[in-house]
């Protein structure tokens, strides 16, 4: 895979040359692209080789040269549970969801329980707009096969790769659960008012306000060793109702993340200087971009779109998601190894 930051004419030339690719860019830039084997999502925030950038003209492109086949699918909210049905026997799926849409909501709430969701890597992100355009413009996804855009559907690119290339999906999460009380919610959803605080009935908004919690810090849950963040969007000081960028899950135990003294520095060291980073599919959260002041700063070599939510099987917040194609042993050697065992 190869990451490129291109102007629309360069992107069009690649598509017309038959490339299989995923794009991120402004609505205008994506709408200018010709039909082909690609999907795209709207954002104007990027991590580029020279650092974080806001750009309305150019497109971030990941070329998937290893693809032996690719198929784009557009799924309505009612069809989303079928996301695994069209995938190839060996490969991965890349999914884009428009922020604030039913497709986004349903994937976040119901996706974790869909049969087969974890059987093959599903990576992607939630598309957005410039923050100054929130409420005036809708985030969109594009299907390159038809050239159509959608504001309430998932665009999915199923990619086939040779068995010698093993897709590995992983996350980089700066945050760990802090030493504050366990917060448990009675219901699953993008908002909550009631919760228990170390087992005592309480109100989540009042807890956060009365304790002066820095709401740039996400709530963190432990999923058998994977730290999963839920970020705070808003607190209603009257009712204590808190709105989140991803759902809290009923019965799951959350703690406010450990504070980070040097957010930008921790981010750079957390992401590491992975030599392969520039050949990976990756995306990072707009909240990390804002809170860590990443504009003009590099994140350990990882480049990609800056997003309104990240997907590594499930919806995540404030997390860097990365997918690498690892070279495994050649097929003939794998067969010989299996026969010898």
């Amino acid at each position: 895979m190869q990451n490129l930051f291109l102007n629309p004419a360069e992107a069009a030339a690649l598509i017309e040359g038959g490339a299989t690719a995923v794009f991120a860019g402004s609505e205008e830039a994506l709408a200018s692209l010709p039909r082909g084997k690609w999907i795209g999502g709207t954002t104007v925030y990027f991590m580029t080789e020279s650092g974080g950038a806001v750009d309305h003209e150019n497109l971030f492109c990941t070329l998937i040269a290893e693809a032996t086949n690719a198929k784009s699918v557009v799924l309505s909210p009612a069809e989303l549970a079928r996301i695994g049905e069209d995938r190839f026997s060996s490969g991965f799926s890349y999914v884009l969801l428009p922020a604030f849409s039913d497709a986004h909501r349903i994937y976040a709430l119901e996706g974790p329980g869909w049969p087969g969701l974890y059987d093959q890597p599903i990576m992607g992100w939630v598309t957005g707009v410039h923050l100054s355009e929130l409420g005036r413009r809708t985030p969109k996804v594009f299907d390159g096969a038809t050239g159509q855009w959608h504001e309430n559907a998932a665009a999915v690119l199923h990619v086939a790769v040779p068995e010698a290339h093993v897709p590995e999906l992983d996350i980089v999460n700066l945050f760990t659960d802090g030493d504050g009380p366990a917060l448990v919610f009675p219901g699953t959803g993008f908002s909550a008012t009631e919760c228990t605080v170390d087992g005592v009935p309480g109100n989540i908004g009042r807890y956060l306000l009365e304790h002066g919690v820095d709401t740039r810090l996400p709530l963190v849950a432990d999923y058998a060793g994977a730290k999963v963040n839920v970020s705070v969007q808003d607190i209603d000081p009257e009712t204590g109702k808190v709105t989140f960028y991803a759902p809290v899950v009923a019965g799951q135990s959350y703690r406010v993340a450990q504070p980070i003294a040097d957010y930008a520095g921790a981010y750079a060291s957390g992401a590491g200087e992975d030599a392969e980073a520039e050949r990976m599919l990756a995306c990072n959260c707009v909240l990390n971009f804002l809170y860590a002041n990443l504009e003009g700063q590099r994140t350990g070599g990882f480049v990609g779109p800056v997003t309104f939510g990240e997907i590594a099987y499930i919806l995540l917040n404030q997390t860097l998601v990365r997918l690498a194609l690892k070279q495994s042993l050649p097929e003939a050697m794998l067969r010989a190894l299996a026969a010898a065992r």
């Binding site: 999906l169 432990d222 060793g225 899950v249 590594a312």
Partner: protein
């Protein structure tokens, strides 16, 4: 490696959190984390959760390293 039978006590230990192996695959972590929370909420769903995990481990070659840890 063969997948343990549904009645094998290792499933209950894993899903109660009594046993907490250091899994390597993100998919395994997310799946086990989700099923643990479901079983904690509703212990009666344990057999269904075990079946889901058995299916996952028997279907996915990439999860064999994690299967060896349970």
């Amino acid at each position: 490696m063969s997948v343990p039978a549904p009645s094998d006590p290792r499933w209950g230990e894993l899903l109660s959190g009594a046993k907490d192996p250091a899994f390597t695959a993100l998919a395994t972590k997310l799946m086990v984390g989700r099923l643990r929370q479901q079983v904690k909420q509703q212990p009666a769903v344990l057999p269904k959760a075990v079946e889901e995990l058995r299916h996952y481990f028997s279907t996915n070659a990439f999860a064999q390293r994690d299967l060896a840890l349970i």
